[in-house]
């Protein structure tokens, strides 16, 4: 129990630090939407117009940084992340709510697939190292070494243009109304397949390599030899003694990867014009849209924290040594 309290405290402090940084960082960055509007108009804008822009964006009330900081916390607890500049006047929370499920759904499923497949393959080739199965490695590494945007474009070229298997962009068929019916869901799955596959193919080598190397290391441990000497079935030695221990570092990597799902594979969403949070973040940065940026960053940080917390719990469950009291 003390373990969880200690970890819990740690996460609360980390969350506070993250939110505070998240508040200050955009304010340290040069530029604001009003000045970018002035620049866009090439100086052909009257002071009155500037003033009304400031009022519009809520930049006129002359609050000190501290007042802004405290009111930011107040708003956070009310679930109010402010209004987006780029999608004015939609609230930030609504923008995020709209885009987040797309990313989490697509990249989440792709990541989980990649982890499960990669770890399984890594287990097998790590267990029988030095056989022909090792040939999987250079192939997988090749695909992860190719820059993703290029890989994505080639995939679109081949599978959406040359052979018309999959749609080239968007999250679903334009013109469909989002609803829980088969027509819409099948369209979503159809549109998600190609981006998901590209993510799996380009990320799987890391999982294979990580697991394979751990399997090779753990395979030399005495307890694996003991398990073999005990006359246990090959499969049982591989799964329950070697893989069971080799998988632990994969869990930490998986937690990190889970956090980054929300940060989105920005490039993927751009290449496939996918309506996810990475794409939104990209637009927010372009428009100096602080509230939206802050909102995105906040969601990303919290997601990473939550993912880490889950990993801690899973880790404690899998590795008794981390449960040590005191």
């Amino acid at each position: 129990m003390r373990f969880f309290i200690r970890r819990g405290t740690f996460y609360i402090i980390t969350a506070w630090a993250a939110v505070t940084l998240n508040f200050f960082l955009p304010r340290i960055m040069p530029g604001d939407p009003v000045s970018s509007a002035i620049i866009k108009s090439g100086g052909q804008i009257s002071p009155d117009a500037i003033n009304s822009l400031k009022v519009l964006f809520g930049l006129d009330n002359g609050q000190s940084l501290w007042e802004q900081y405290t009111s930011y916390w107040g708003q956070l607890f009310r679930g109010d992340l402010g209004l987006s500049f780029a999608f004015f006047p939609t609230p930030v929370s609504a923008v995020i709510q709209q885009s987040l499920p797309w990313t989490v759904g697509l990249v989440g499923i792709a990541t989980i697939l990649s982890v499960i497949l990669g770890t399984t393959v890594g287990t097998l080739i790590g267990w029988r190292r030095g056989t022909k199965a090792d040939a999987v490695l250079p192939v997988a590494t090749f695909f992860s070494a190719v820059p993703y945007f290029w890989f994505g474009l080639i995939a679109i070229l081949l599978f959406a243009v040359t052979w018309d298997f999959f749609p080239a962009s968007k999250g679903y068929q334009p013109g469909l109304v989002p609803a829980w019916n088969w027509e819409f869901i099948s369209s979503v799955l159809w549109h998600g397949t190609l981006p998901a596959l590209t993510i799996v193919v380009s990320s799987i080598s890391g999982w294979i390599l990580g697991m394979r190397n751990m399997m090779v290391t753990v395979g030399q441990e005495d307890y694996v030899t003991v398990a073999q000497a005990k006359g246990l079935k090959e499969r049982r030695v591989m799964v329950s003694y070697a893989a069971r221990n080799a998988v632990l570092p994969q869990i930490s990597s998986f937690a990190l990867a889970l956090g980054f799902i929300v940060g989105g594979t920005l490039v993927m969403e751009m290449v496939f014009s996918y309506p996810g949070i990475g794409f939104v973040l990209y637009q927010a940065v372009n428009a100096s849209d602080y509230p939206l940026m802050q909102g995105c960053f906040l969601v990303i940080t919290l997601a990473i924290l939550v993912a880490n917390m889950m990993a801690d719990v899973v880790y404690a469950f899998l590795d008794p040594r981390t449960r040590q009291e005191g």
């Binding site: 030095g130 030399q220 441990e221 005495d222 307890y223 030899t225 003991v226 398990a227 073999q228 000497a229 005990k230 006359g231 246990l232 079935k233 090959e234 049982r236 329950s240 003694y241 069971r244 221990n245 899998l318 590795d319 008794p320 040594r321 040590q324």
Partner: protein, 361 residues
């Protein structure tokens, strides 16, 4: 078995009842065109109920011999030839080296169990001690219920002096000595006929060493298994072993009754090894090491492998490899084998310290 053993002489035992016969076992390290021949035609016989000590410097092939004979050699170790005949209680002989995978799995732990060198790493850190004990039972006895397996596991734990409630403990919650006991308990859980112990006490302090040795001797008397005890500590062997085999550079250079080997070594290497350890009893004497180091196994010299370090080296030793055979004193010591030109009867003079005679009874 053990209750009758003292009544029999060793000679009759040897003829009557071998449990493990290693014949001409050869092991290479490396797969390529130029592998290193670590063991070449090593033969060794273990009799039922006997504790055979295997001693020698680090890297002389003691562990390789044990792992080779049980087919547990990690790559790049390759068994190149030989036979390892195991004779069960029922008298059935099997060659461990030619068993198929399934039969090998069945034989492991039930016929021969192993206590490994590093007690610290022999237990899987993520499974409870009980799980790992029960694992071994379930793998060999499909009919055992969970309850039976648990009781059996608890019983062997108590046998090595650990409270049965420790079944629930994880390895990191046990001390080094306790872990070693758990490993011994685990090795005995199926009542194997042969126990191979690879430096079982090396990582422990002397007090714990003593306790564990006494326990092993005790358990052997009760359960009647045979033991191959591997260590580099010869004076320790004298305490536990009935017979001692000394290895040097991948060969057995001397095999004799434990007391004989200790009090009256024949091979210069045995003598040197004994001089490297303080005697457990008797007057203090200065320790002498053996000058030099073992030969590079990849580039073995012609002739005797010990020639470069031997204080009694002769011209013959540089060209002729001595065979492991009876000594010139064969009448008085029928079961001593030694691989040294000094003892083949042709040497003009055997140094006095290598020709000590047993006191007449």
């Amino acid at each position: 078995m053990t209750t009758t053993a003292p009544a029999l002489t060793h000679a009759t035992l040897q003829a009557a009842d071998p449990i493990l016969e290693i014949k001409n076992l050869s092991v290479d390290y490396g797969f390529g065109d130029d592998p290193t021949h670590v063991l070449q035609d090593v033969s060794l016989t273990l009799n039922r109920g006997e504790v055979l000590g295997l001693a020698g410097e680090s890297g002389c092939g003691k562990s390789t011999l044990a792992y080779g004979a049980t087919r547990l050699l990690p790559p790049p170790g390759v068994i190149r030839g030989g036979e390892v005949i195991f004779t069960g209680r029922d008298g059935v002989k099997t060659d461990i080296l030619t068993l198929n995978d399934k039969d090998l799995r069945t034989a492991r732990w039930r016929d021969f169990a192993i206590v490994f060198q590093g007690a610290m790493n022999s237990l899987n850190p993520v499974h409870r001690v009980g799980t790992q004990l029960i694992d071994a039972i379930k793998a060999h006895d499909k009919t055992a219920t969970k309850q039976e397996a648990r009781e059996r596991a608890a019983y062997v734990l108590e046998m090595v002096g650990i409270n049965a409630d420790r079944l629930k403990a994880y390895p990191h919650q046990l001390s080094g000595g306790m872990r070693q006991r758990v490993m011994i308990a685990m090795a005995l859980v199926l009542e194997p006929e042969l126990l191979i112990m690879d430096e079982p006490t090396t990582a422990l302090d002397v007090v714990m060493q003593r306790q564990i040795l006494e326990e092993i001797t005790d358990l052997r008397d009760r359960l009647g298994f045979s033991v191959i005890f591997i260590t580099h500590d010869v004076s320790l062997l004298v305490e536990v072993a009935d017979r001692i085999a000394i290895m040097y550079a991948g060969e057995i250079v001397e095999a004799a009754d434990a007391k004989d080997a200790y009090l009256r070594p024949r091979h210069p290497y045995t003598k040197g090894l004994l001089n490297s350890f303080p005697p457990l009893r008797g007057p203090r004497r200065e320790l002498q090491g053996i000058p030099g180091s073992p030969p590079d196994m990849a580039q073995l010299p012609n002739g005797c492998r010990f020639a470069d370090r031997c204080p009694f080296v002769m011209d013959r030793c540089r060209t002729e490899d001595p065979a492991l055979s009876r000594t010139a004193l064969k009448m008085s010591e029928p079961e001593r084998l030694v691989a040294c030109h000094l003892h083949d009867g042709k040497a003009s003079e055997v140094p006095a310290e290598l020709a000590l005679q047993a006191p007449q009874k």
